[in-house]
């Protein structure tokens, strides 16, 4: 029985908690991609770099606050800086929309042209981030590191295995729940949110019923900026901030959005967790858990790691291919333009 509990704790500690936090971050990223896809009808390749930009502006404000001696006690200061980060990111995306995307929207170009344009925006944003903060790793987490540390947990429960619950992980999950709840309340209950969904479902009908497209687009961009900044900051707090890793997040984020069904917000959240849990379970070395759960003679010799962690992209990719082959519209029926 104790062995079973120990195994369970190890499983929670190394698989469930990290995967949940990572899944929440991916879900927030995928929500941004899926909203852009639903309203503006293109795959935004600049999204990863928008996340990096949001994280970067939050980091700069955090440093400023830290310089003034402001802190949130056990919580990271970045939480206080986040609204400013969101505002700066919103200014950036609204600026790019005005300068870049609006022209093509008026011309009603093919979606693939918009994808190429977003590639240009990605270059510029990426350059901007490297320009301002440099390409190196930045750690900006402060406050209490653990909600429960492994040692405390062992002392309280008397088990051999420790369960560490980091503040950043707890914060990720709580923030993600709040943000998602607010988003769904907005989309389903408010007039503006309803007009956005109407616009996404059928553009012509929405225009006929007097919805102002420019307003819908502006609001979408602001929401996307907020989602991107939150996702970027949470990821940066949980792991660390490095501009290039945000670019690489593009693949799991798109995989999540497509698995869920592009254009479907619920799908994006489900997809985020599907991708995160598969990535973590496939690349985790199961030896530790199995040692507790299996009787002596069956205990494995090797690490029982299905794939090395360097192949985590291969997991998102494999999921993507499976979905493309068997259910191209995703788990929740998305669009197929």
């Amino acid at each position: 029985m104790i062995d079973f509990l120990n195994g369970l704790v190890a499983l929670l500690n190394f698989v469930v908690i990290p995967a949940t936090a990572y899944g929440a971050q991916l879900a927030l990223g995928a929500l941004g991609v899926t909203l852009i896809y639903g309203i503006l009808r293109f795959s935004n390749f600049a999204h990863g770099d928008t996340m990096a930009f949001g994280a970067m502006s939050t980091i700069l404000v955090t440093w400023l606050l830290q310089g003034w001696g402001v802190s949130l006690g056990p919580l990271p200061t970045a939480l206080l800086a986040l609204p400013f980060g969101i505002a700066i990111t919103a200014l950036l995306v609204l600026g790019t929309d005005k300068l870049v995307y609006r022209f093509y929207r008026r011309q009603r170009v093919a979606p693939v042209i918009l994808v190429i344009v977003s590639m240009g925006v990605m270059f510029v944003t990426n350059g901007l981030v490297r320009f301002i903060i440099g390409p190196d790793d930045r750690n900006f987490a402060d406050g209490a590191r653990f909600l429960i540390s492994a040692r405390d947990f062992r002392e309280i429960t008397g088990l051999d295995e420790g369960l560490a619950f980091r503040t950043s992980q707890a914060m990720t999950i709580v923030t993600a729940v709040i943000v998602v709840a607010a988003l769904f309340w907005f989309l389903n209950r408010t007039r503006t949110g309803k007009s956005m969904r109407a616009f996404s479902d059928n553009e012509d009908l929405a225009l006929l019923s007097g919805i102002n497209p420019e307003r819908v687009v502006t609001i979408t961009w602001v929401i996307v900026a907020a989602l991107a900044a939150v996702a970027g900051v949470l990821y940066g707090l949980d792991k660390s901030f490095k501009p290039f890793t945000y670019f690489q997040l593009l693949l799991p984020i798109f995989a999540a959005a497509i698995v869920g069904g592009l254009g479907s917000p619920i799908g994006a959240i489900a997809g985020g967790f599907v991708v995160a849990f598969s990535e973590v379970t496939v690349t985790y070395a199961w030896k530790k858990v199995l040692e507790y759960w299996l009787p002596g003679p069956l205990e494995p010799d090797g690490l029982v790691q299905l794939l090395s962690t360097d192949y985590k992209f291969a997991v998102s990719f494999a999921i993507l291919v499976i979905v493309l082959l068997f259910r191209p519209t995703g788990l929740f029926k998305g669009k197929s333009v």
Binding site: S43, P111, V112, I116, F123, G134
Partner: protein, 430 residues
């Protein structure tokens, strides 16, 4: 006429580099420009002729580089003896499982039994594969791991590697095209983005294949070494006649040798691409691009044609990748960056003029020239701007440091400006 002027301008810029900086730099730009132009030709085939959006160019280029290692390097006999059979056996098992799964899926009636059988086959197959494969890998990587630790190549002349690199890329393109073509255009983009990351991950981690991040260095060359030239009587006599410094002359001669080889490949490919474009096949491709529904109604197999051109374009990128690895003389998986290999090639195609082969080539040279020269220009600009600041100023140091990141920024601005004001590129499609 416009094309001639533009080409003259670009080569004028490169010649200016030769006069102002050094001919070594200028020839370096020309060599990489030739390779970039070939990559741009491949992408132009996919995008310009068929409207396919491929963002996995980096993967195909890296596969070409792998081809150069697999063909050019001498085989490591000890490693083959230690675990070669197990590694190959493991790979065959893996392939067998996948083929088996596909056959099973086709043969059995749809239903729960089929899904279950497939799952069992895949899971069991995976463990058998790991069992056979892992021991072989450990044995191979243990052989002389500081300098070898991999199976090596076939030890054939490196020029053979070029078409082989193309073939490797073509095989990967076939697998990707089979899954993602025929769906929405965005799906192909995401799938190619994914395959590129996976190719790089494999190159970085599978040490038995190409030494991973330990890099394979000292690939054989298709042209003589500088040192050998400097010791050859005939060469020394020749340099003495024109009164050149033998060291400089030897490095320029080697670079010219590469230029000639690359130029031959480029001209042949350009001729082929132009002939294809002018043929009924080329007209069909453009018809499909401009209106898929109409082309399908005319009885054209759109998906098969897309697959065909996707494979051809990727093969050209693989060929260019093998050439690049040959030029570098080494395979360094960590140097493959998507912004440099995938997206820069896209800038070349768009700036040059999508749908026009000459445009793609021009874009290749021009954008590569800018990519190389933006950094020194940026540093110069920052030095001028910060000249008023004191020597030790933090801001000045920061400004000089950030000049290194000007490249991405400039390329993005260039791409956006061309898309906005001249969407058909410098040399538009006729």
């Amino acid at each position: 006429m416009r094309a001639v002027l533009l080409f003259a301008a670009v080569f004028g810029l490169i010649a200016l580099t030769g006069f102002l900086q050094s001919w070594n730099v200028a020839l370096g730009i020309i060599n990489m420009g030739l390779i970039s132009a070939i990559m741009a030709l491949g992408v132009n085939l996919q995008w310009g002729y068929a409207g396919l959006f491929n963002v996995g160019i980096m993967g195909f280029v890296a596969l070409g580089g792998l081809g150069a290692v697999l063909i050019g390097m001498p085989p490591v006999a000890e490693a083959w003896a230690a675990g070669g059979a197990r590694v190959i056996g493991g790979l065959l098992v893996g392939l067998g499982v996948i083929v088996g799964a596909v056959v099973l899926w086709g043969r059995m009636a749809p239903g729960r039994a089929r899904a279950l059988a497939m799952l069992v086959l895949l899971v069991a197959g995976f463990f058998v594969f790991r069992f056979v494969f892992d021991a072989g890998v450990t044995a191979v990587e243990a052989v002389n791991s500081a300098t070898q630790g991999y199976l090596g190549g076939l030890g054939l002349p490196i020029l053979i590697a070029w078409p082989v690199g193309g073939a490797l890329a073509a095989a990967a393109a076939w697998a990707i095209g089979k899954t993602a073509l025929g769906l929405r255009s965005d799906y192909l983009a995401i799938a190619t983005l994914g395959i590129a990351e996976i190719v790089i991950a494999v190159l970085k981690n599978e040490d038995w294949l190409a030494r991973g991040v330990k890099n394979v260095i000292g690939l054989p060359r298709p042209v003589p070494y500088e040192v050998d030239l400097q010791q050859s009587e005939a060469f020394l006599q020749r340099t003495a006649e024109i009164g050149a410094d033998p060291v400089l002359a030897s490095s320029i001669a080697v670079k010219l040798g590469y230029s000639a080889l690359f130029a031959v490949v480029l001209v042949v490919l350009l001729w082929l691409a132009q002939a294809a474009l002018a043929s009924p096949w080329g007209r069909m491709m453009r018809a499909i691009r401009d209106n898929e529904v109409a082309a399908e109604a005319m009885g054209k197999d759109v998906k098969a044609r897309h697959l065909q051109i996707f494979i051809l374009g990727s093969a050209i990128c693989g060929l260019a990748g093998a050439m690049m690895t040959t030029l570098d003389g080494q395979l360094t998986p960590s140097s493959y960056q998507p912004l440099r290999f995938t997206f820069l090639v896209w800038v070349m195609v768009i700036v040059g003029g999508s749908g026009n082969n000459l445009g793609a080539i021009l874009g290749g040279f021009l954008v590569w020239f800018l990519w190389v020269q933006v950094e020194p220009i940026g540093i110069w600009l920052m030095e001028t701007l910060s000249a008023g600041l004191s020597e030790g100023s933090v801001l000045r140091a920061r400004m000089l440091e950030s000049a290194a990141h000007m490249r991405l920024f400039t390329m993005g601005i260039l791409l956006l400006l061309v898309l906005r004001f001249s969407p058909r590129g410098l040399i538009p499609e006729r």
